[in-house]
Amino acid sequence: MDLRSQVPEGALEKKWDRHRFEMKLVNPANKRKFTVIVVGSGLAGAGAAASMGELGYNVKSFCYQDSPRRAHSIAAQGGINAAKNYRNDGDSVYRLFYDTVKGGDFRSREANVYRLAQVSGNIIDQCVAIGVPFAREYGGLLDNRSFGGAQVSRTFYARGQTGQQLLLGAYQALERQVATGKVEMFTRHEMQELIVVDGHARGIVTRDLVTGEVQSHLADAVCLATGGYGNVFYLATYAKGCNATAIWRAYKKGAVFGNPCFTQIHPTCIPVTGDYQSKLTLMSESLRNDGRIWVPKKPGDARPPGDIPEAERDYYLERMYPSFGNLAPRDIASRAAKRVCDEGRGVGPGGRGVYLDFADAIARLGRKTIEEKYGNLFEMYNRITDEDPYTVPMRIYPATHYTMGGLWVDYNLMSNLPGLHVLGEANFSDHGANRLGASALMQGLADGYFIIPYTIGNYLASNKHAPVSADDPAVKAAEKAVADRTAKLLSIQGTQSPTHFHRELGKVMWEYCGMARTEAGLKKALSIIPELRATFWKDIRVVGSGESLNQSLELAGRVADFLELGELMCLDALERRESCGGHFREEFQTPDGEALRDDKDFCHVAAWEYAGEGKKPIRNIEPLNFENVHLSVRSYK
């Protein structure tokens, strides 16, 4: 397959400006003749639906939750990056671009990342204009803090609820368009099939989660902004409902899947406590501005943290990465935590935890300052663990948090399936093999507010289609596929619940496709997962009916897709015979345990193409060229 990135010619700094000029426009009177579907209502989805509604397109917006305001962007805590240089500390568009390319371990597309950095400032401007209450200083100007992988303070924040405030801003803009009638909102609707007519994405089939009604929605273009697929690990920091169904249906209709094995394990989450646990909770990376991470020097040291003298503590990030210290990037900090725990120096029950200690910061700044900065996070920690982080260090451990992989898109955010656009975490594009902190919010809003509104016009102006009939064979076939699938899930009446299979899959994925991967482990996973999938389709038990609200049925459908996606992730991890960013193959590491890239053979995007049921998917390649940031060993020492 010939994957064309559609990156415009010219100097890096001029590409987006030039492209914006060269793209075709839809005149204002004609915009109302086009309908665009947006699936997902997070930062990318709500942002896209609101901005396209403002432009005058007819937008149909879908989410599985009871309100678009619930989308999981809401849970992002720490902040959003922007190259404003308000701190006068040497930041610039180029530096944000550089940090992001390097942070991604040279596996992202330069032109996309540069554009992201370029529009980052506009995002902050827009958010302030719509009433996002960012943190401010006494003079009334915006405050900043630092995040991992950067040596400047470029992160804007709203206490520990930045994602919430940005999402509510986008949600309010979306509701404003709902009120004008430009956006039609469908809540508690799940996309279960993509409609492709003459090779173009022309609609979706949804299931109404309240009534069970299966319905087709037709349009001139489709945008998927359905988030990441980290729930394949069962335990993750994602919302329980986050799923891969929309992107997986698109993959099976021909959209290629970029770098599925690139997942992010976030270093600072509250450790697992029991088998019943339903999810993991993140403690924001911003805590690493003031918290110091340590473990005892001696393996098996069971003394309470307060009894371990300074000299017997190992502040391992400060020791190993003196220039970035506790703010080393996520992949590096996570692996370091795993390594010290593997050495038997982990703390807490099961020895899978490290301390994140605020004692020094409290002594230096006072409890009140720490409370102002992180109060809600400390409270959240206390709720879950029943421990007081003001007096006892937090215990944290890495957990799945984000997926850099996703559907492949070109510079216009369009997949290889014409008309199918993919935004935010659902696409593969900007973060390479590791995302830097506070960059997910930036990308979601960049895609939704500032990129898709331009590129969708270019697509619509260049592709004029006849309307699709509701009786078109492609529409009928897609509807039937949804109905058949529901009927099949309900008919099996086996012995095990959807949660059982989800948990089993999660264990396999975490063990063999988690923080450290090996050829033998991945091969083992590739033999276990198809067996588990076969058992699922023989032994799943879904109670209730398909004609009403049925949460077991919803989960069963999502788990069925995870059981296929998990296999693709392992296959991708197996064939990427190098380590880069969050993808760490134990066979490929430097003598001091850092990721060892292979730029000769793997400086490319692996874009997997569905080849049919039971057939091995095809691995296509988009080569990555680094013309501005030279390929180098990523060092944070």
Binding site: S51, D66, R69, I74, P133, R136, G140, G274, T281, S552
Partner: protein
């Protein structure tokens, strides 16, 4: 530990509901309240019965989708805590708990413990925004905002839209929810151009949806998982009065006075 649940079961909006009793055994005090319900539901599935439907998504107290009335208290006994962040250690071993949905005329039951809160979306759609189209904003630092105002705006903006305030109110009023948004946007200079129209429209929509009036019980503040203060309702009332007084002047011919 073990607990006895008296849970509200209702097939859909049209069918009358009833309480059904379940025993939850082998419960760890470290479980969250919703994880306890997960365990009960797994048991029901094993027996071939339909699990108890309840809403939840993020399970970290921020999305606002969860909400169960536990022994008459929305989100249960612990202050400033959503149902998903409540842990079983907050209950006594052997306790008997009554579980109900967030009841209100404006929140019809969808199934079991799930209600339809789309009325909140319509209140926001009526005016809970700043009409600044995407693309034309000036530099973010052009208008300084006093830290005090910005902090107060953030306090109000912390509302997660769960609806506990409505469920707790004897009048099923949505004043705290509406006031939080009115306050946030009125406290910021960017929200000033539309402040009069916003408060009038949002209050009108609140009435249309069938929410009751505020009679200063303060139950809403007491159960709010995010500690949204009653002070916001006072601010809404001031904003509403201000809007009513200025309305005739700003919009000649549109008539004075306001709804409710």
């Amino acid at each position: 530990m073990k607990v006895t649940l008296k849970a509200w079961r209702q097939k859909d909006a049209r069918t009358p509901g009833r309480f059904v009793t379940y025993e939850a055994t082998d419960i760890s005090s470290e479980m969250s309240f919703l994880e306890m319900l997960d365990v009960v539901n797994e048991g029901l599935i094993a027996k071939g019965e339909e699990p108890i439907a309840f809403d939840a998504d993020c399970r970290e107290g921020i999305c606002g989708q969860c909400g169960v009335v536990i022994d008459g208290s929305p989100h249960g006994p612990r202050t400033r805590t959503t149902s998903c962040q409540l842990h079983m250690r907050s209950f006594k071993d052997g306790a008997s708990l009554t579980l109900e949905p967030f009841r209100a005329t404006a929140f019809p039951v969808v199934k079991d413990l799930i209600v339809d809160r789309s009325a909140f979306d319509r209140i926001i759609a009526s005016g809970g925004f700043i009409s600044a189209a995407i693309g034309g904003a000036q530099d973010a630092n052009t208008v300084p905002v006093p830290k005090e105002n910005s902090d107060l705006a953030m306090d109000a903006a912390a509302c997660i839209g769960c609806g506990a305030c409505v469920a707790a109110c004897p009048n099923a009023s949505a004043m705290l929810f509406t006031a939080a948004k009115v306050s946030q946007l009125a406290l910021l200079p960017q929200g000033h151009p539309e402040r009069s129209e916003r408060v009038r429209k949002m209050v009108t929509q609140m009435d249309i949806e069938g929410f009751g009036s505020c009679t200063n019980h303060g139950e809403c503040e007491a159960v709010c998982p995010k500690g949204i203060s009653l002070g916001n309702i006072a601010r809404l009332n001031r904003e509403f009065l201000r809007a009513s007084l200025s309305w005739g002047r700003r919009r000649p011919g549109s008539g004075g006075g306001g709804p409710g």
